[in-house]
């Protein structure tokens, strides 16, 4: 080292009035000269905060497609991370939703005219139920136990993931619905209300059973009920039936609210 920083340059640097070129030159020297570094007085807290800020910008995290998309939609980064981690958001689930909805839509049109549109109406409401069953719980989430003992409300976590699953399923369903040769009297609410009712019923049962088990019970019950109804010629998707699904959804919501503290611990609550 043949030169050191002179006092006047150092003084201007400390006061922040030195020009940028001289500052860059001085900093390059400081990086390699411990003697001169000792002369620069700085606030340790400020320095730590600055470094944390830099590290926060350059460190990994939030780089997935889902997180980036949610970020662009204005969702805070910590919420985006919670949603993106959902096991139900794996590519395999998204593909399954698209394929099953597509298959159901095609199958619905296969016997037109008159149409077998009910295939879609039976299958479509099941997809969010399956998605929720794979969104939360010990069997599907490897870090479930760590998640459970965190202070975040488990029901909130489950609802966040359920909302994500519903958003994906409903979007795909809306895209597929025009392909279904349903009578003009039936709107997309014909499958949307059952989907909401079944999903909320799954959540309600999850206060007592594992989510996957609750989902299986609801899906099984739905299939049996639909086979029975359709074989007897009952109309399961008309306006009256839809009012019934809305009522079921409301009842399930009330149960979820009443049981809100039973989602975050195993064992029978006393």
């Amino acid at each position: 080292m043949t030169w050191h920083v002179d006092e006047s340059a150092l003084g201007r640097y400390r006061e922040g009035v030195i020009d940028r070129v001289a500052a860059a030159s001085l900093e390059a020297h400081l990086a390699s000269c411990e003697d001169c570094r000792r002369l620069v007085v700085f606030d340790h807290d400020w320095l730590k905060h600055s470094w944390d800020g830099v590290a926060g910008r350059v460190e990994p995290g939030g780089s997935g497609v889902v997180e980036r998309t949610l970020g662009r939609l204005g969702v805070p980064d910590h919420v985006a991370r919670i949603v993106a981690v959902s096991p139900a958001l794996r590519i395999s689930f998204l593909l399954a939703v698209v394929l099953v909805m597509g298959f159901a839509a095609v199958a619905s049109g296969a016997h037109s005219p008159g149409g077998n549109y009910r295939v879609f109406l039976v299958v479509a409401p099941l997809l969010p139920v399956v998605g929720v069953a794979f969104a939360y719980g010990r069997l599907v989430d490897p870090a479930h136990e760590l998640t459970m003992v965190s202070p975040i409300d488990s029901l909130r976590l489950l609802l966040l993931r359920t909302t994500t699953v519903l958003a994906v399923s409903i979007t795909v369903g809306l895209v597929a619905w025009p392909l279904v040769p349903a009578p003009s009297t039936l709107g997309f609410s014909a499958w949307l209300f059952p989907a909401l009712a079944l999903t909320l019923t799954t959540l309600a049962l999850s206060s007592r059973f594992a989510v996957w088990l609750a989902g299986s019970m609801v899906a099984g019950g739905w299939i049996v009920a639909m086979l029975f109804a359709l074989s007897r010629g009952f109309e399961a998707f008309n306006t009256r039936a839809q009012i019934g699904f809305v009522a079921l959804a409301a009842l399930a919501t009330a149960i979820v609210f009443a049981s809100r503290h039973q989602y975050d611990r195993e064992g029978s609550p006393r």
Binding site: A55, G56, E59, P60, P142, R265, E266, G267
Partner: protein, 287 residues
């Protein structure tokens, strides 16, 4: 700062995992020993608020885990390392701990990242921040699980087999870290490593068949085998357990024959006497 259990019971079908467990933990490290199936993990899961006991009462840092609001507060003040923590294998170490930091209410990104770096540094994983979890060895994953337990400097640490799979150097480092932390925290450490208990625990609790069989200092646990550990040149017939050492002699624990070369017991010897007696249904002085 205390954690108290009073007559805690938990039954799975016909198995009594916990059968009236009572004790009080204070600042410092308490080791929890016991054979497989003794109820250690069930006990730790109850303390960690994962599992609700069937009956009995828990008081964790003055809070009642049966009350939802207080349960949340306990979780804010607790770090938990489960026996088999699961991981998102495609996450990097940093992302995994960062995710759990979010769940622990570290919302501010800059502060959260600083905290994640701190715990990764503490557990010697700073240089693995960007490594995918699927590429980590078992020991590194254990350290990663420990790192998440240390997020937010919890006042109560529940550690289930924290040193399983760690090499000796890392185990020493773990001891150093936990003893530093335990100065002003309650630490409950379940382990099969009696060396860890000897090295760092102020107190040891032995659980067997869901009951507390021993509660005292490691020295007192070792004392259970005082006068019952000896060296023998031949295979000892009266020993409860014995093994051949590198020297060729047999180290035996049990009822020594007359004139046996008695040696100082370790806590492992005391543990063998205690739990062995329970298993055989025979009396020991300590039981």
């Amino acid at each position: 700062m205390t954690v108290t259990l009073t007559e805690v019971r938990k039954v799975y079908g016909s198995v009594r995992a916990l059968d009236g467990v009572s004790f009080r933990l204070e600042t410092g490290i308490t080791g929890l020993l016991g054979p497989n199936g003794a109820g250690k993990t069930t006990l730790l899961r109850c303390l960690a608020t994962v599992l609700a006991p069937d009956t009995g009462h828990l008081d964790v840092l003055g809070l009642d885990p049966d009350r939802p609001d207080q349960r949340t507060e306990i979780r804010r003040q607790m770090g938990y390392l489960p026996q088999e923590p699961g991981f998102y294998r495609n996450f990097t170490c940093f992302d995994f701990v960062d995710y759990l930091a979010i769940l622990k209410e570290h919302v501010d990104r800059t502060e959260r990242h600083a905290e994640v770096r701190r715990v990764l540094e503490l557990t010697g994983l700073a240089d693995k921040s960007t490594t995918k979890i699927r590429k980590l060895s078992g020991g590194m994953r254990r350290r990663l699980a420990l790192a998440q337990a240390l997020l937010g400097s919890p006042r109560f640490l529940v550690l289930d087999e924290p040193t399983a799979g760690l090499d000796p150097e890392l185990r020493f480092r773990f001891r150093e870290l936990v003893t530093e932390l335990a100065v002003d925290r309650v630490v409950l450490l379940s382990t099969h490593q009696t060396e860890d208990v000897s090295a760092i625990c102020d107190r040891v609790i032995v659980l067997d068949s869901g009951r507390v069989r021993f509660d005292g200092t490691p020295a007192r646990l070792a004392d259970i085998a005082a006068g019952k550990v000896w060296l023998a040149a031949e295979r000892p017939a009266s020993a409860r357990i014995f093994w051949r050492m590198a020297s060729g002699q047999f180290r035996a624990v049990g009822r020594p024959p007359d004139g046996a070369e008695i040696i100082d017991p370790t806590i492992e010897d005391g543990y063998v006497m205690l739990v062995g007696a329970a298993a055989l249904g025979t009396e020991t002085e300590a039981a």
